[in-house]
């Protein structure tokens, strides 16, 4: 009996074909589409049903390239972080199911979009930001500003605050002049 079972937890559904565990080490992680897998929500959690599994399994979506591809290369993990399956493109699913997957990813990678920057103040190794975002006007703090930013293609800039929240500037070049001037130094 595993430790998890001893604690009264649910046993993970049997592993894939021939009882082989589908882990990241297994190069044969199945790529899934709406043709061979389905997703549904139960009690607020996402579940995946795969024909190879006897019963649905709780699934967690994970972006393989979170800064380059938001809707492609998505790993489906179990709650222990093992890869169960891989979604090449979110568009391989459609309708309500696709919406559900998009919603799950958006919740996990919740990143308000910065539209305007009112101020950035450097104080002793931290920078204090006041910005208008898609989630309203927000203030947040970055520790070591240079290290708390990642530039992606197309002028996209990701910011990570001290709490682990993420923010995104869709295109730094398209920011208004005043906002751009405030972050120019870090670019």
């Amino acid at each position: 009996m595993t430790e998890q079972e001893q604690r009264g937890g649910r046993r993970r559904p049997p592993d894939g074909e021939n009882g082989k565990k589908r882990t990241a080490e297994n190069p044969n992680t199945p790529e899934i589409t709406k043709e061979n897998a389905s997703f549904f929500m139960r009690g607020g959690f996402l579940y995946m049903k795969h024909p190879k599994d006897a019963e649905p399994v709780r699934a967690v979506l994970h972006r393989d390239f979170p800064f380059e591809f938001l809707w492609e290369y998505i790993s489906v993990l179990d709650i222990d972080g093992y890869e169960l399956a891989a979604i090449r493109k979110i568009d391989d699913f459609s309708g309500e199911e696709r919406e559900m997957l998009v919603r799950e990813l958006e919740r996990k990678y919740y990143s308000p979009v910065i539209e305007k920057i009112y101020s950035v103040k450097e104080r002793f190794g931290f920078s204090y930001w006041d910005a208008q975002t898609s989630a309203g006007r927000l203030t947040f703090t970055l520790q070591d500003t240079f290290k708390s930013m990642i530039r992606a293609g197309g002028g996209k800039l990701f910011l990570f605050d001290v709490d682990g929240n993420r923010f995104v500037i869709e295109n730094v070049e398209r920011l208004d002049r005043r906002s751009y001037k405030k972050i120019e130094l870090y670019l």
Partner: protein, 759 residues
């Protein structure tokens, strides 16, 4: 028991809960989340009583009563659920990327989604979960001082301190406070500082006097027939020589004081900083870029020294100098003084603008420099890979981009300074002189002042400009110093995350029973490395820990030697929580032999004796023999006195490892941790070291962490760690019979060895 309010809960919410049968008096714990269960932004309040957990979701809206002209807050409830704590267990904060959810498991083993939040609320919810666990288990709790929200928030702005262990709000920190604090440090040099100041004042007074005697005084008193010293040129020469001699004397005193104080202050500052660094826990170093830490601190101590021992005295002297010169100018002619000084504000404003722009250019240059330096550090350490993939051209191109950016920043800054500095100098000097000469000349013709006065006046106005330039740069120098001070205090104020108990329990010798009880730990947010791990080892027995790379095996060792403390759960030795044990006793009784061997610069003897400096030569040799190190040591020309370390004899991995085993043998601990001790060895060396290890582990409680499972076969028991949890436990035979993870790993390794022709 009092209510522990982790976040501020509005009175309206307590009223709603009371209506629903949960009066405030019964609530033990309350917190706030900023999402509902579908992750839509709204207000979710969690309240726990001894038996229940209530989750209330909704939003506040404002309603204005136009008749009474009053606006009130209305609570619009969207969801309310009450859970019986008896039916829930295994509460968890499931950390996603920038959000998290609070979950539990019900009596049927089904997951229950309790609440969702963004990372803003996660810290509070981790505290909520901690105390909810205690309520569910014990029915009560005592609040740790560290969890008190007041102690974690800035009293001024209310924001949470960005670093948990450093109760400082950078946003509200005053520069003045930093300077006042460091002033205490400099008080011990007050005699030197006083001497420096006196010599500087002397130099300044003498320079004013020398200018006076060679200009105004020379014309009006020596050359003018009506002067008191008419024709006494030798007298004025004597005065000038005297003034010069005294200036030289003051300069010598000043230079002497400066050189003495510079060395002393730098020494003391570095000593203070290094002392503070050594005191800190390992977590401090892993959370910061430590590569350049000492270099940075070296620069910082120079900046601080320079500010307090050089800039500050000059500032004081310049203030006095400007004040004296202004008085002298007003004595000569108040109107002319006002007219010439009127140029100063304009020039100062220009200088301020110039400095602001310069600061920006400097910051840009700094960021380019930083980018290039980190690129270079990275590149040089990875040169083997670059060569192996023949990526030299690409890397040169990458370097070019960064180097060009730095060159561009340099050019922009250089060009700006080329134009602006002379321009602001021109404004101040030329305009100041023009005003003085123009109006002064006119005043001489009018007979308002004489020629000697005009000469004195122009000399004094020229003397005033240098201090003004100095003042305009002062803010930049102060900013530099305050940044350095902040970094200095950051180190000095950092509280070690792992602290010895206020009244530690002393225990000379351990029996050696080790117990991990529900231990969880994470190095970084969103990633639990150890999750609710429990196991026990009886004194004198051996436990093998097995698992994939990154499963959390070494972290367990780090927790046992208190390099880190668990986030939840506890580690016990002989039934005593290791947090209560005195550091010295803990470290004396535990030794670790890991893959990473640390040998410092010194002789082999000193390195082995590091474990026990009072060990005799015989004991050192015996330990080296037992570790299988003696043979290679005696082959060295200087044997035990061979210097090793940077720039000296380079030992192989196996030799280094055997020295570290000798160290551990010399220490003779009750508990021994072998963390992948032979992982990097070839089979021959590994066999030798294994023999040494067998000697070492006799009669000791041993934790063996190994990737090669064959080395763990003889362990009394084994645990398999997967994803930070204990997946399996038992003896080798039991685990092989179970056909689980261990069986799979073992079979794979044996197959691999067979294929390689080893097994």
């Amino acid at each position: 028991m009092n209510l522990f309010e982790i976040d501020k809960i509005p009175d309206e919410i307590y009223a709603v809960l009371t209506e629903k049968g949960i009066p405030k008096e019964e609530i033990l714990l309350a917190a706030y989340c900023d999402r509902d269960r579908s992750h839509t932004p709204c207000d979710t309040y969690l309240a726990a009583t001894q038996k229940e957990l209530a989750v209330l979701t909704g939003t506040f809206s404002r309603e204005t009563d136009l008749r009474k002209k009053r606006t009130s807050r209305i609570w619009n409830e969207s969801e309310y659920t009450v859970y019986s704590l008896e039916k829930l267990h295994d509460f968890k904060i499931e950390e996603l990327i920038s959000s998290a959810r609070f979950t539990a498991t019900d009596e049927n083993g089904e997951p229950v989604f309790l609440a969702a939040m963004t990372n803003y609320c996660r810290t509070s919810m981790i505290v909520f979960k901690k105390y909810l666990d205690k309520i569910a288990r014990d029915g009560s709790f005592v609040v740790d001082a560290d969890d008190d929200p007041k102690s974690n928030r800035c009293p001024k702005c209310g924001a949470r301190y960005p670093e948990k262990n450093r109760k400082i709000c950078p946003k509200c920190m005053e520069k003045g406070k930093l300077f006042r604090r460091i002033a205490q440090f400099f008080l011990r040099y007050r005699l030197y500082l006083f001497l420096s100041l006196v010599s500087l004042v002397g130099m300044t007074a003498l320079s004013i006097f020398a200018s006076y005697s060679s200009s105004g005084f020379f014309y009006s008193e020596i050359l003018d027939e009506s002067g008191s010293f008419y024709g006494m040129i030798a007298f004025v020469l004597f005065l000038v020589i005297g003034a010069k001699l005294l200036t030289t004397l003051s300069t010598i005193v000043n230079n002497y004081v400066t050189s003495v104080i510079a060395a002393k202050v730098n020494f003391d500052l570095k000593k203070t900083i290094f002392g503070a660094i050594e005191r800190l826990s390992l977590g401090f170093f892993t959370s910061r870029q430590t590569g350049g830490l000492m270099t940075q601190l070296n620069n910082d101590s120079n900046t601080i020294y320079d500010f307090f021992c050089n800039i500050l005295p000059h500032f004081i002297v310049n203030v006095v100098k400007v004040a004296v010169l202004i008085i002298l100018l007003f004595i000569i002619d108040p109107v002319l003084a006002l007219l010439s000084l009127s140029v100063i504000p304009v020039s100062l404003i220009t200088m301020r603008i110039s400095h602001a722009k310069n600061r920006k250019l400097h910051a840009k240059r700094y960021s380019s420099q930083r980018s290039m330096t980190s690129f270079l550090a990275d590149e040089l350490s990875g040169m083997r890979v670059v060569k192996a993939f023949s990526k030299e051209d690409e890397e040169i191109a990458r370097f070019d981009v960064r180097s060009r950016r730095l060159a561009d920043a340099d050019i922009r800054r250089g060009v700006f300074n080329t134009f602006f500095s002379p321009l602001s100098g021109f404004l101040l000097y030329t305009f100041g002189n023009l005003v003085a000469l123009g109006f002064g000349g006119w005043f001489v013709i009018q007979g308002r002042i004489d020629y000697a006065d005009l000469m004195m006046f122009t000399t004094y106005t020229n003397m005033i400009y240098a201090p003004l330039f100095f003042f305009s740069e002062m803010s930049e120098m102060t900013a530099d110093c305050s940044n350095s001070l902040q970094r200095l205090f950051e180190i000095m104020d950092s509280q070690p995350e792992v602290c010895e108990a206020a009244q530690p329990v002393h225990c000379d010798t351990f029996r050696g029973d080790v117990r991990f009880d529900g231990v969880s730990f994470s190095y970084i947010k969103n990633h639990k490395v150890i999750d609710n791990v429990s196991f026990e080892i009886e004194a004198g027995k051996t436990l093998g820990i097995v698992g994939h790379t990154g499963a959390g095996k070494s972290t367990l060792a780090n927790l046992l030697i208190r390099l880190y403390d668990p986030e939840s759960g506890a580690v016990y030795i002989d039934g005593m929580d290791i947090k209560k044990l005195a550091f010295a006793d803990l470290y004396r009784n535990i030794a670790i032999v890991s893959q990473e061997t640390y040998l410092f610069m010194g002789t082999i003897l000193e390195n082995i004796r590091y474990a026990r400096p009072d060990a005799s030569y015989d004991e050192v040799i015996a330990a080296a023999r037992a570790a299988g190190a003696h043979d290679f040591i005696v082959k060295l020309p200087d044997a035990y006195d061979t210097k090793i370390g940077f720039g000296y004899k380079d030992l192989s991995g196996g030799e280094r490892q055997r020295l570290s085993i000798a160290r551990a043998i010399l220490r003779n601990p009750k508990i021994l941790i072998l963390d992948e001790a032979t992982a990097a060895m070839d089979t021959e060396t590994e066999r030798k070291i294994q023999n040494a290890l067998q000697v070492l582990i006799q009669g000791k409680t041993t934790i063996m962490i190994a990737h090669r499972l064959s080395t763990l076969r003889d362990a009394d028991s084994l645990i398999v760690i997967e994803n930070g949890r204990v997946a399996e436990r038992g003896t080798h035979e039991e685990l092989m019979a179970r056909d689980g993870v261990y069986h799979k790993l073992y079979t794979l390794q044996i197959e691999a060895l067979k294929n390689a022709g080893i097994a």
